[in-house]
Symmetry: C2
Subunit: 672 residues, 2 copies
């Protein structure tokens, strides 16, 4: 029909493709490559998800896992203390016995995907009120997940795709005994710091190596990536297998305007605030700076990413392009009486944005681990009284193991940092909800935010894991009787958390139904060979290794070891541009021509960090660690003109292991 004449759904090398719906025809036609089912399965099973929010891959038969330093940084921080700063100084285990067990990592290996859309949709009826629909959807999803878990023993997640258009069951093998093998210094992993973040050219060894264990021994891994001898060459086709976190490409203009006018400014105000708070805490001393640093990195990274996203949305031409495409779609709908019902989807989404904007200032965010633990405990114990399908999803039976791993983690919690962060969060809550808000009055307990935060942190014993376990074991009576200050605080705020959660869950439900309709329309008019927005589940992206033009200059596809030393000289006097001593010492042994970082057109986003880049033979040729500044608008639109993903070259990792770190034991195992 005539609708097929519309502009193609995807452009160039766009796409974060589902492993069960790859663009085989496009790859064949455009790149002369047809992935076989074996190739695809091997890559899928060689890919690893870090549940803290990153991607990775198996790179040896004995369980070596490669990811980014900045994905590992959470664990490096948790393993560190006043006297061992692995995050800053790096780590190298010369033997298995030296490897350090991560306190709470969970790694997921995707084993199978099953489309369960029909089963979900059979339960959730259009005629239901949002509240009923939320409950029905929650129940059927919990049931599918639980049945899968019981049947297979695999972690089972039902994933919402196409904004609500499809539901797939993802089954994962879990690894929870994960040990640190190698990390470089932060100075080379994040060379150029916040200034160079999201920039290119780059010179970063943003890599870290773990090993998964089973039954106390290095796990035997069937699917792992071979290590490419020389890495990629310019213009070579490469593939990225990873877990992009979130995109908004299906968003209507109303939804994008909400992001532009409300949510992103709101989020950025919070991020800037947290950035200053963490900086200020760090100014108190060297140890305080260490305690704050990992979170500060994360906040700065988000701030820069959000600013890039917002910058695009604030460009009138970007929004005009989105609006024009939507206008064309709406014109098409109006022209065809059979399509009339789809129009409501757009107005439903617009209405949801207004309602979101109306409650955003009621937002409760404490950014405190202790408050989080207390709320988790209070909620878990309350939820456990209900059947699994009626609980808030994070407390469903199928997810309990993962939840408990986090809740009972031995990772350190620093009371001084907690108090500092909480004081600011209380102050922010007063600002957002008003000092006369009855909940705020109760939260403060007659004190100023600083004094109250001190009281709460001093009055809790939840820093001790045993205390948390005892409360969990004690159940309802233990929580009711508890005089722990944080537990009492959690009991106070829990009803409001639930009230707000109910509102946002119902708004999300309305959106799901609306986006399901828009997806139906897209499939009908543009075909089903497309990909859904990112959902922090495994996707395949592809592209070619190539540079780009910027401000009249040609940015080359690859950088070299030698240029890293030049970069240091060009930025003399700037604190984030000092190469670690290990590199200065090893300079004479390094080949300056060794490729260091490279860019490709593969379509990625946050969450893809640590993704393996592989060639047609399925060999590892690179390690995704960033996108360039032009890629920050990829949240809602992709163009291969300047958008590039940035990777560490496989040869750089191998050479650095050998010649900078003397980590021959690790280098010898790569791809073996």
């Amino acid at each position: 029909m005539s609708l097929l004449s519309l502009s193609p759904f995807v452009r160039g090398d766009e796409g974060m493709w589902l492993f069960n719906n790859l663009p085989i025809e496009y790859l064949k036609k455009q790149h002369g490559f047809e992935p076989t089912p074996e190739w695809t399965e091997h890559l899928m099973k060689s890919s690893v998800r870090f549940n803290v929010g990153g991607s990775a891959s198996f790179i040896s038969s004995s369980g070596l896992v490669l990811t980014n330093h900045h994905v590992a940084s959470d664990t490096l921080f948790k393993l560190s203390d006043k006297d061992h700063n692995y995050l800053e100084d790096g780590f190298h285990a010369k033997t298995h016995a030296d490897e350090l067990k991560a306190p709470d990592l969970e790694l997921n290996q995707l084993i199978a995907i099953k489309d369960v859309t029909a089963e979900v949709n059979a339960t959730v009826k259009e005629s239901m009120k949002p509240e009923e629909a939320v409950a029905a959807r929650r129940a059927v999803i919990a049931k599918i997940a639980k049945e899968s878990l019981d049947r297979t023993g695999l972690r089972s997640d039902v994933v919402t795709l196409y904004g609500g258009g499809q539901y797939h069951l993802y089954q994962y093998k879990k690894y929870t005994d994960v040990r640190l093998v190698f990390a470089p210094e932060a100075g080379i992993a994040f060379f150029g710091g916040d200034a160079d973040n999201f920039e290119y050219p780059r010179y970063c060894l943003d890599a870290c190596i773990f090993r998964v264990y089973e039954d106390g021994k290095p796990a035997k891994i069937e699917h792992y990536l071979k290590w490419s001898e020389n890495g990629p060459t310019e213009n070579e086709l490469v593939f990225v297998s990873g877990n992009p976190g979130r995109t908004s490409r299906i968003f209507t203009t109303a939804a994008l305007k909400y992001q532009r006018d409300v949510r992103m400014p709101f989020a950025l105000n919070l991020l800037r605030r947290r950035e200053i708070v963490l900086q200020q805490f760090g100014l108190q001393g060297v140890e305080q700076a260490r305690r704050a640093r990992e979170e500060l990195f994360g906040v700065q990274n988000s701030r820069k990413a959000y600013l890039g996203m917002l910058g695009g949305l604030q460009d009138p031409s970007v929004m005009a392009a989105k609006a024009a495409a939507e206008a064309e779609m709406l014109k098409m709908i109006s022209a065809d009486p059979k399509l009339a019902k789809y129009k409501d989807a757009f107005s439903a989404i617009e209405k949801v944005q207004k309602e979101r904007a109306a409650v955003i200032n009621q937002n409760l965010a404490f950014n405190s681990q202790l408050v989080g633990i207390a709320i988790n405990l209070v909620q878990m114990i309350a939820e456990d009284k209900k059947p699994s399908g009626e609980r808030l999803p994070e407390y469903a039976e199928a997810d309990r193991e993962s939840l408990e791993q986090q809740l009972f983690s031995e990772a350190p919690i620093y009371a001084d940092l907690e108090q500092y962060i909480l004081a600011d969060a209380l102050s922010r809550t007063i600002e957002l909800r008003g000092a006369d808000d009855p909940l705020v009055v109760k939260m403060l307990n007659g004190k100023g935010p600083g004094e109250r935060a001190a009281e709460l942190v001093a009055g809790t014993r939840l820093i001790a894991v045993a205390e948390r376990q005892q409360l969990a074991k004690g159940g309802e009576e233990a929580v009711a009787a508890s005089k722990d200050a944080m537990i009492e605080f959690a009991k106070l705020v829990d009803p409001e958390f639930r009230r707000l959660r109910k509102i946002t869950d119902e708004l999300a439900e309305i959106e799901k139904q609306a986006y399901a309709k828009i997806t139906e329309l897209n499939f009908m008019t543009k075909g089903t060979s497309t990909y859904p927005d990112a959902t922090f589940t495994l996707r395949l992206a592809f592209g070619t290794v190539k540079g780009y033009e910027e401000g009249g200059e040609t940015i080359p596809a690859m950088t070299k070891f030698g240029s890293a030393f030049d970069h240091e000289v060009n930025h003399a006097g700037q604190k984030d541009f000092v190469l670690p001593e290990s590199w200065t010492k090893a300079r004479k042994d390094l080949n300056p021509e060794t490729p260091f970082n490279f860019v490709s057109t593969a379509d990625i986003i946050g969450g893809n960090s640590g993704s393996p880049v592989v060639n047609k033979k399925g060999e590892l040729v690179g390690l995704i660690f960033d996108g360039n500044i032009q890629s920050l608008t990829a949240d809602y639109m992709y163009t291969d003109k300047q958008t590039r993903s940035v990777s560490v070259h496989s040869s750089a990792i191998r050479e650095a292991l050998k010649y900078v770190y003397g980590a021959e034991n690790v280098a010898a195992e790569l791809g073996k």
Copy 2:
């Protein structure tokens, strides 16, 4: 009458007293000291105001002026370039010929004060609409100022006191040829950096020395302060003569709640945003960091000050105390039929706060010098067509010289920094007013904020002072014909600036009338021996040199040179805690027992920076440079329990000049 039995209007050593209404009786009774008219006049005329926002004093007959390094920093920055960083590295002129002329400093010496309340009030009638009242008040004030200027040749400012209760004419001798004589390194002036700012104990040589010139020669100064031989001792009575910038002690609870719930959170979001923007700009390189640094200091200082103020207002007990006092006052009003008319004042103020809150998001703030210059030019030329009394006050005839000094200043403007700041300011304007706001659409000219900022900065020639002067000379036709991008931008936004200005001026007028009534009530019930809120005009504060208790610890009144070196050791590894090389080298020559900084109970606030601290003999014993963290709530309440002002000890300045900097020539001139 019975109302006099209420709690006294001021507490302990509270007060920023008018030089024409000093608390003679209190000083006599409490401190056994009675200032003579000569003592008072000498101190007044020895005091100096820095129009950039600070205080100072004459300290020699040949025009030496002592202020803070952080008051001078604006000038130090303007005198610096890529190769001379006086702000960071300090400066010392060995001869008069070496002294560096500040590009745009104006120093004011207060000569006389005259109460003109009757004349102002005779013109502004209660029956007038706010718009008419604004115009009438503006006209009479411009007239008084102009007549005074013509009659005396002195800078003449009509100052609004008691929130609108009184109007005084301040006549100043102006000094505009001001030259830099001595500045220490930022490392000792601001030892401890942002971390130690507003903290005590401190170890800062926050001092800087200028010299005023007349007719190209060092000015002959009649009133200057003698230098105390040994400085103050503990428990000594001291006086502070300076220009506190702004306090809000008369504020009603409604006005304080507006500060707490609306204005301060709004201002803090802007400050944090600017802080991050300036940090990010500085990350680009050493020279960029230098360019951003001075403004960054200012923003960080304000952020910390505002957080302290907000922290107090968010403490329920603070607001409860304010509310209780107000309730008592309202009860008194209700009880006395003669006082009934005063009740309206409180509700009028409450209404103003709501109206302020309603327009705050329309706020236009570009933080760009070039935009500021363009708007000044466009407005000045438009205003000059009107009689002086009908103009916006800053364009009145009496102020023209000061305005032109700023507008045609040769201080450097950095295009790269301007562009960076403006891009963010445009982005913020989109956030605040919405992307679909018609003015925003026009401001962006179809481009994103970054691209538009680049276009504006590239399209202006206003960096050249000659260009500004030519436009000013060309007048209306020149501005109308100008295709300069910034001038066109200013013409675009000027009507909206004026619309918002009209709203805020009228709200301020309503407040002035209401606070005038409240002041009348205060005078009637509590007597006239009181002081008005700070107005960046000369005030006298007094107090005793003494320490305080904090967290069970006694904080001593004074610190010593020796402890500065200990402080460095205690903060090893922190970048703002490294003493300059000059101090490390001079250590052997310094007496470790020399007092360095001290605290007193004198009631000060921002703007008092650089104020001389004098003893009963009128000798200089110290130099105000900060308040402790507890003093940050002094904006709206004073208590001498922990609130302390922090000064550099006079001996520290003298000894450092001699033994650290070899500035014998300067040391020899102190007080001479």
